[in-house]
């Protein structure tokens, strides 16, 4: 299935990757992004999230963070992963991937 959009949220921090319009929106700034970069990003994103469960929860801490990764497909179906104070083992790999994407366009 073709991915239309990926929305990555951690607390109030939101990164939107729009594959149709080939743009990345982060902190009020819109970045136009090359198709090849997006293709590479998507390949790595799929790799990272392939084994993720739908939900990761740890409610034993005072405060902490919540996160969500929403993948929207062209046929309007979606996949959602979310968590509170707990993440998949390779969550930081996704952070690095997102960071690389932003570094590539900034």
């Amino acid at each position: 299935m073709d991915v239309k959009e990926i929305i990555f949220t951690k607390n109030n921090d939101k990164l939107i990757i729009d594959f149709l319009k080939q743009k990345v929106i982060y902190q009020d700034i819109i970045y136009i992004i090359e198709k090849d970069l997006l293709k590479k990003y998507l390949k790595n994103f799929m790799n990272i999230t392939f084994n993720w469960q739908k939900e990761y929860i740890n409610n034993t801490l005072i405060d902490g963070y919540s996160w969500e990764v929403l993948v929207l497909f062209n046929d309007d179906s979606f996949k959602k992963y979310k968590g509170h104070n707990l993440t998949p083992d390779n969550f930081e790999v996704l952070r690095r991937l997102n960071d690389n994407l932003l570094q590539g366009v900034r």
């Binding site: 299935m1 951690k10 607390n11 109030n12 921090d13 902190q27 009020d28 700034i29 819109i30 590479k40 790595n44 799929m46 790799n47 990272i48 392939f50 084994n51 929860i57 409610n59 034993t60 801490l61 005072i62 405060d63 902490g64 963070y65 919540s66 509170h84 104070n85 707990l86 993440t87 083992d89 390779n90 969550f91 930081e92 790999v93 952070r95 690095r96 960071d99 932003l102 570094q103 900034r106």
Partner: protein, 579 residues
């Protein structure tokens, strides 16, 4: 303030002053004692710091842009609105800078202003850029075309415009120089980011090499013959050991997903895609008809293909694939441990706390990896003490002082059983199992008091961590929604002293004895419901004037809240207890 090394100790008197002002002088000793007992750990994440620095540059660049635009008598919104400002808001910026907001930031050369630089070759691109600016500045609003441009260059209007532009260019150059000077003040933090980034990449590269070295002899002969470097390229391309490679898609757990059709169609397609990629690197193309799996017959056909002698010898056995995946997991964990244990701030913490065990440090490192900003339970001399983990996360720009004060609010309410109204052993919220039942009630109160403390400091000209011009003033939706805060304002207005006493002493009875246990529970439930609705997009719906089920539920909750407050007043008055 040194962002890499915040001096919490020096901030303690100010923190005490702020919360004493909010809670009352009678709590000053308690607040002082609790904050002094807490242990503060600041750690850094280079990815978030990088983002913070980017924001810092962005805001500073906008300051210079505003100063510059004054040359053109253009006023753009005051500094407090910088955060929401973008180039689409101000058409003029496009005319002058092309993309003004990053003109300073990226020191771009393709801005219209630079097209007027002395001695520049007048090529098509230069003319385009000049036209952008001329068309913006021209008084008659008639668009000048490329064809007419050369002719226009001989006019006196053009000469006048160029004179003005040249003056602006001089100012631009001097502001640019100033900005570049300011950039130097970020060198230390940028060096830290660079060195941590490099350290992470080096560790992962080394771990990937270790993995390759350990698996080479177990790989199928055809792959082995290609040599370690080529195999590494096939398996990891531009990635590293932190990613799954083709071999991982041959392990039992993954093959089982196909055999049992227990995952979605696109997940199966993804596994097959990785098999396809792997076999293609060995010169074998999986027939297209095998790459669509809808039923068990398709599954059988696919596995019959993998079982073919000529294919079987090219792919790793399940046993080996399982081992490769396990090994990768171990090496990944080791790499992560190596990175976090060698962080400068962790090394410093370990050298200051000889008693801390490696296990405890590893747990801390896991929290560091997830960028937790929270209060942990620690122990000192047999007593439970709060440990505050503090970091600049991706979301921290402009709210560093708020974040610190919020956590200090929890430290003041801290007890071995929980924080304020929030008890560790309470059940999950009936609306969202990710939260404890009293968590959001306590968080919302904590935010309200935290904002009061912050306002008090700012009104007195005290800015704890970030300077005034970086601070975000509107915190009404920070951490908790203003819609949940509004639910608690009547409680705080009427029963403030009781709320504070119950919160600070971590004893809800100090409040419920006066407002009624049932009323308290109903209020908590009402707040949890509204909190849940905000997570379902309530605010956006309200802003758009929608009138759907979520909005209606919200209005019903507001009615409930009114009734709860009426019941609270009746209960309170019937008890005849003075506030």
């Amino acid at each position: 303030m040194d962002l890499l090394n915040i001096d919490f100790k020096s901030l303690i008197p100010t923190l005490v002053q702020a919360y004493t002002n909010v809670y009352g002088d009678e709590y000053q000793d308690l607040i002082t004692e609790k904050i002094n007992k807490a242990y503060f750990i600041e750690y850094n994440n280079y990815l978030s710091l990088n983002n913070y620095v980017f924001n810092l540059k962005k805001v500073m660049a906008r300051k210079y842009v505003i100063r510059f635009l004054k040359m053109f008598n253009i006023d753009i919104p005051p500094f407090s609105d910088y955060y929401s400002l973008n180039e689409n808001d101000i058409p003029a910026i496009k005319g002058i800078f092309n993309n003004a907001l990053d003109a300073f930031l990226f020191l771009r050369n393709d801005i219209p202003l630079n097209a007027f630089k002395e001695g520049i070759v007048l090529d098509d691109n230069t003319i385009d850029l000049r036209l952008q600016l001329i068309n913006y500045l021209k008084s008659d609003n008639k668009e000048l075309t490329k064809e007419k441009f050369l002719e226009f260059m001989n006019s006196s209007e053009y000469a006048n415009l160029v004179k003005k532009i040249n003056e602006c260019y001089q100012v631009y150059q001097s502001l640019l120089k100033e900005y570049q000077e300011w950039l130097k003040s970020l060198e230390r933090i940028e060096n830290y980011i660079k060195s941590e980034n490099k350290r992470m990449n080096d560790i992962l590269a080394q771990a990937t090499d270790d993995y390759m070295e350990k698996i080479m002899h177990l790989l199928p002969e055809a792959l082995k013959q290609k040599g370690e470097n080529e195999v590494k390229n096939i398996l990891f391309d531009e990635t590293d050991i932190s990613y799954d490679c083709d071999l991982d898609f041959f392990k039992s757990e993954t093959l089982e997903k196909i055999r049992t059709l227990s995952v979605s169609k696109d997940s199966i397609e993804y596994i097959l895609l990785n098999h396809y990629h792997y076999l293609l690197s060995l010169g074998i193309e999986i027939p297209e008809e095998l790459l669509t799996i809808n039923n068990l017959d398709d599954v059988n056909r696919y596995f019959a293909f993998l079982d073919r002698e000529d294919i079987k010898k090219l792919i790793p056995s399940e046993e080996n694939a399982n081992y490769f995946s396990f090994l990768k997991g171990v090496l990944n964990k080791e790499a992560s441990k190596k990175f976090y244990l060698n962080k400068p701030e962790v090394k410093k913490y370990m050298s200051q706390n000889k008693k801390v065990t490696e296990e405890e440090i590893i747990y801390l490192c896991e929290l560091f990896e997830n960028e937790e900003i929270c209060v942990l339970y620690g122990s000192e001399d047999g007593k439970t003490i709060p440990i505050l983990l503090y970091t600049i996360d991706n979301n921290s720009f402009g709210i560093l002082s708020y974040t610190l004060l919020h956590e200090v609010g929890h430290i003041i309410d801290f007890s071995p059983y929980g924080s304020g109204f929030d008890y560790n052993d309470s059940p999950a919220s009936s609306y969202n199992k990710a939260f404890r039942r009293y968590e959001k009630f306590n968080e919302t109160l904590n935010d309200i008091f935290c904002i009061e403390a912050l306002n008090y400091l700012q009104e007195n000209g005290i800015f704890l961590i970030e300077p005034e011009d970086l601070v975000i003033k509107d915190l009404s939706n920070c951490n908790t929604s203003h819609l949940t805060k509004e639910i608690l304002y009547p409680l705080i207005t009427k029963y403030r002293a009781l709320v504070i006493k119950a919160k600070v002493t971590n004893n809800k009875n100090e409040l419920t004895n006066y407002i009624g246990e049932d009323n308290y529970e109903n209020l908590v439930d009402c707040l949890n419901k509204i909190d849940d609705l905000t997570r379902k997009g309530l605010e956006n719906r309200l802003n758009r004037g929608l009138n759907d089920e979520i909005v209606n539920e919200y209005y019903r909750a507001l009615d409930d809240a009114k009734q709860i407050y009426a019941n609270i007043d009746i209960y309170y008055n019937s008890k005849g207890i003075k506030k």
